[in-house]
Symmetry: C2
Subunit: 409 residues, 2 copies
């Protein structure tokens, strides 16, 4: 299902083709985040026009509402949402983490990864854990109605069968950057046992419920854990890498800085099977994409591009840090599009001045227009990266992008 | 600019063609509400696909943000928003009313006109007037930043020149249903003097600012006032109807019930020039559209269709009161579109179950999808009404629609 096409000279960067039951994905690729079976503010059909190849939804959120059975009865995520292309589902491990240790510690994946914004502060308000974690699984209360729920490696496989994603992920325990070595090790070892139980369950996928199987072509990815500890990450990569997964994700805490994250990638990727696809969970800043691609990551997902769009921040290659905020007063009368070279709907039709007005006025139409731009920007970035790798020119592209960081818009 | 095409036998209902500087409008027509130069949750380009003919924006809101000069510098509303079709602008009189007497009285245009919802309760919280009204005009404070502003009949003509709408409306004083006869009469007489000042100013439209005139083809409509008092309404229709306006709007308080509103229409429309277009301001419930068309109204605008959409309420011909709320539990697993005979984007692509999920989850993508449906529904309703009038069959159509009110979806 995954074919390596070209490895850049003197680098681990590679292009590939990931074939799923709902179409192929050219890699490296950005996976758009459609947590609750929609990208926020954008209907599924518009993603096709942008050139989006693959979307990731969240098992935890869809379990709570509308529930796996409802999605299955409507033809799985593809039938339910109308997005007909390749789809991943995250297992819910990160959400269990968010309700548990993440909530107690008040932190996300990497505390400092998004300078200038609190890392998903709305998701991880500090407080008491809402999760009871045992070897069997995790019980937790619904954030919607307080009802009790239980996730096990097995139940999450069944849930994702109902969702019918093309790529399912195993249930893992995400540790926080503030967990110590001992706890991180204990959690990692449990995650490894859960991974095997997940594989066993997936191999004999239960169809005894009498419900239709919305996607018999579904495959399962394993997740490497181990926090920011070198020996744990290497051990996890070896253990998970030997299991019969169709692909692998790097999950959990990636340390306290971008350097920590680079170390995690350097420790783990070489120990995973080279011929299988590798996904970096929840990371998608532009410089992180370059750093990940250079180390052999094939796919990325990150909610930041859509979240910052709704706050007025749009991507631009030349701007400082590749972004401008349309709330800035200098855009009020600016007749230019966000990016004169961009081919997205927003740039083809609207000025910075109009977008600035919609943003200041809090108009919902702004959320969609800004999100369309940011997603198209990432799609084009990934196209550029694939072309650069094919031409053994990724270093050149990366240095051009980094050189641009200093220039104004 | 307005051509009467057909008058239904035994009725004042008529079809017509209203030609503006940005295209023609077949009447009777629904004018979609784009208060701040966007329909809420829908980008301007999508309106073309729905078949929307004309949009109305609000001078008051656009004056406060981004300001008339900014809009003029970007090519007027058409250049600014990207909506290239016919456009009206309301003068701001209703907003002055909302901040003044409407706020003191805690009411809107017609207290009981939208059963089941407080009439625009969010706009008209009871409290002290924020407006100081004199013969010269109205001074008020910005709801955005508290800054002082002044609207006069003259300044509002200049503001709408900057906005470049195809149809501008005079500044009027909207009285509340709770105003007594004496006050309503005083306000009406002032509105008549303001109407003449507006016409005089419009005739010699000021271009001395050196700013470009975004729409030299703009025309001006007068507004009939007089509350729900028969002699005042008839007097106002005679006075305003004699002035050289390109068309007329029925504004202000329409009484305390739908019957009161029908009386206001019956008193005023026969006294206005038959050959000129007539707009009913802020009214657009389905039964009100039939009632207005039957009495000779050519265009309607109303924010309810888009506002209720965002709350989950979508139109359906057969449903009780022509609407269902997608939050209702019975739609959670319903694989059908909102309306199997509807040709809108939403009905072509999405199930009630998916829309119900998006609505419950508070996803922004829902707001757009529901709004697209409701607007397309009204566009088709108006098409049907025009066809019915041409075939002298409006009574038949209306009774079919009213008969459907009793049926379930």
């Amino acid at each position: 299902m995954f074919t390596l096409l070209h490895r850049q000279k003197g680098s681990d960067a590679r292009t590939g083709r990931l074939v799923t039951a709902h179409g192929a994905v050219d890699t490296p690729a950005f996976v758009v985040v459609a947590t609750r079976a929609t990208v926020k503010a954008v209907e599924p059909q518009a993603l096709v026009d942008i050139g989006v190849q693959i979307a990731i939804s969240n098992s935890y959120h869809l379990h709570l509402r509308p529930g796996g059975e409802t999605v299955a009865s409507l033809g799985g995520l593809h039938g339910f949402s109308g997005w007909r292309g390749p789809t991943m589902t995250d297992s819910g491990g990160f959400q269990v983490f968010s309700l548990g240790a993440g909530k107690e510690h008040g932190v996300g994946k990497v505390a400092s990864i998004f300078p200038g914004e609190q890392p998903a502060a709305n998701h991880y308000r500090q407080g008491k854990s809402l999760v009871n974690l045992t070897e069997k699984g995790a019980s937790f209360r619904s954030i919607i109605d307080g009802s009790e729920h239980f996730f096990s490696p097995e139940s999450v496989i069944e849930l994702q069968r109902q969702l019918g994603s093309d790529i399912a992920l195993v249930l893992d325990e995400c540790t926080s950057p503030l967990h110590d070595y001992e706890y991180t090790k204990t959690a990692m070892e449990r995650t490894h046992r859960w991974a095997q139980r997940s594989l066993d369950t997936f191999a004999g996928r239960v169809r005894s419920t009498g419900q239709p199987d919305p996607n018999p072509g579904q495959v399962l990815f394993g997740i490497v854990q181990g926090g920011s500890y070198e020996d744990l990450r290497k051990h996890s990569a070896r253990v998970i890498g030997k299991m019969e997964f169709a692909g692998f994700a790097i999950g959990g805490s990636l340390g306290r800085s971008k350097e920590d994250m680079h170390h995690v990638l350097d420790w783990t990727i070489p120990l995973l099977p080279a011929g299988k696809p590798k996904h970096l969970l929840g990371i998608g800043e532009i410089e992180d994409i370059f750093a990940g691609v250079r180390r052999g990551i094939d796919t990325f997902d990150c909610a930041a591009a859509t979240r910052i769009a709704r706050n007025g921040t749009v991507f631009l290659q030349e701007a400082p840090r590749h972004r401008i905020n349309l709330r800035n007063a200098r855009f009020r009368d600016d007749p230019r599009p966000i990016d004169e070279r961009c081919d997205c709907f927003t740039c083809k039709h609207h000025s910075r001045a109009y977008l600035s007005h919609l943003c200041r006025a809090g108009e919902f139409s702004f959320y969609r227009l800004a999100t369309l731009h940011n997603l198209r920007f990432l799609v084009r970035l990934m196209e550029g990266i694939r072309t650069a790798i094919e031409g053994d020119a990724l270093d050149k592209m990366e240095s051009e992008w980094l050189a641009n960081v200093a220039n104004g818009p």
